[in-house]
């Protein structure tokens, strides 16, 4: 689809097209408000696919354990894969320092006032960060359950963390975010015995009520508990990524599939 030639005009949306209204000319557009971000994300995905790497976007509330999960994952997969991390935070290099302390390359994006990463910020980081030789690139988004969901960064998969101290109603309260998940992790599960009000079953039911069928796992990164299914998921996703690249194919994370379907509806 393009902006101005009218190739996206169908009987269903003709009412929006080229209708002169009191001296003004109406031009049909039918593009996402984030079209520029989405175009940049496609370009980012080409970078990732060119390097045959799997790009994963981690999203959660502040402090749900994203960096702790990365630290535990690096420890577990150190001999298996080469991992790189792009960190997004409003301020400070703290998270990148924690990753570098594990001997893994990390690039810190400080967003200043922006409460989410966008595809342009990630692209700037990509050109200052050695992608060559990486198997998995993790992008740790800014801790925020609202807007990061709207911005495609070019990742292949979205992983959303929900720590058990946050309450099991979060999927119902933040449907836009949880609908975007390809995998949901209930983190800090070591604390479950101390909390009488977080029911993993209820949290999962709230996710299913969003018509989400994605896998759900429970783990405690700081105690290295329940990591195996997560590591298996990563291995399997990386294998699928290699298969896709070899076939000249690519994939987008959860919510983007929805957007794709939406655009198709306008054809």
């Amino acid at each position: 689809m393009c902006d101005t030639c009218g190739c996206n005009i169908t009987p269903g949306n003709r009412e929006f097209a080229y209708k002169p209204v009191n001296g003004a000319t109406a031009v049909a557009v039918l593009k996402s408000l984030l079209a520029r971000n989405d175009d940049q994300a496609i370009h980012n995905r080409q970078h990732f696919d060119k390097h045959r790497l799997l790009a994963i976007n981690l999203m959660s509330s502040p402090g749900s354990g994203k960096t702790a999960l990365l630290e535990a994952t690096i420890d577990a997969l150190r001999d298996e894969y080469r991992i790189g991390v792009i960190e997004g935070d409003l301020e400070t290099e703290n998270d990148a320092k924690r990753i570098r302390a594990k001997g893994v390359p990390a690039y810190q994006i400080t967003t200043g006032s922006a409460c989410h990463l966008d595809a342009h910020m990630v692209h700037d980081a990509l050109h200052q960060f050695p992608l060559a030789g990486l198997d998995i690139l993790f992008i740790e988004n800014v801790g925020n359950l609202v807007c990061p969901a709207s911005f495609d960064l070019g990742q292949h998969r979205n992983v959303i963390l929900l720590s058990v101290t946050e309450g099991d109603d979060k999927p119902a309260k933040y449907p836009v975010m949880f609908r975007a998940a390809d995998l949901v992790l209930f983190t800090k599960s070591d604390l479950l015995p101390l909390l009488d009000d977080f029911s993993p079953a209820r949290a999962e039911a709230n996710l299913r009520n969003l018509a989400s069928t994605v896998p759900v796992m429970q783990l405690a990164a700081r105690k290295a508990l329940g990591l195996q299914p997560w590591l298996e998921w990563l291995r399997s996703e990386l294998a699928q990524q290699h298969a896709r690249v070899d076939q000249g194919e690519t994939t987008r994370s959860g919510i983007q599939a929805g957007v794709m379907r939406l655009h198709e509806a306008f054809r």
């Binding site: 971000n37 911005f151 969003l210 939406l262």
Partner: protein, 121 residues
């Protein structure tokens, strides 16, 4: 709040279209927004005058059409309206549904004021 950055991206897009068409200014901008888009229409409406100030879209009217959430049921085939945190089939209660509408954040159309022609006497 990401509505301001969404709004700036919108204004950039609108201005680009106005420039492509050699328009003098933008009169009206029509959007279609669903509750599952992650964009809050009211915040967008408030951000718009600030984002469009000093551009060809300054003074233009932003019209936002709200789209209801509709899901189609894989179990019983019915299409029903749903709520943001409850995308379950309204007919049979199955949670195996697909979203039919409600996650739109679309720039639908813009109305442009043509530049006055001065080249033909």
């Amino acid at each position: 709040m990401h509505e301001l950055s969404v709004c700036q991206s919108l204004v950039d897009q609108v201005e680009q279209i106005a420039l492509t068409h050699g328009a003098k200014s933008v009169e009206l901008v029509k959007l279609r927004i669903g509750p599952l888009s992650g964009v809050e229409p009211l915040l967008l409406q408030h951000a718009y005058p600030f984002a469009s100030a000093g551009t060809l879209a300054a003074e233009s009217t932003l019209v936002i059409e709200l789209v209801p959430i509709k899901v189609s049921c894989e179990a019983c085939g019915t299409e029903t309206e749903a709520e943001p945190g409850w995308l379950v089939c309204g007919a049979c209660g199955s949670c195996h549904t697909t979203l039919v509408s409600g996650d739109e954040m679309m720039l639908m159309s813009v109305e442009l004021i043509a530049a006055e022609r001065t080249n033909h006497v």
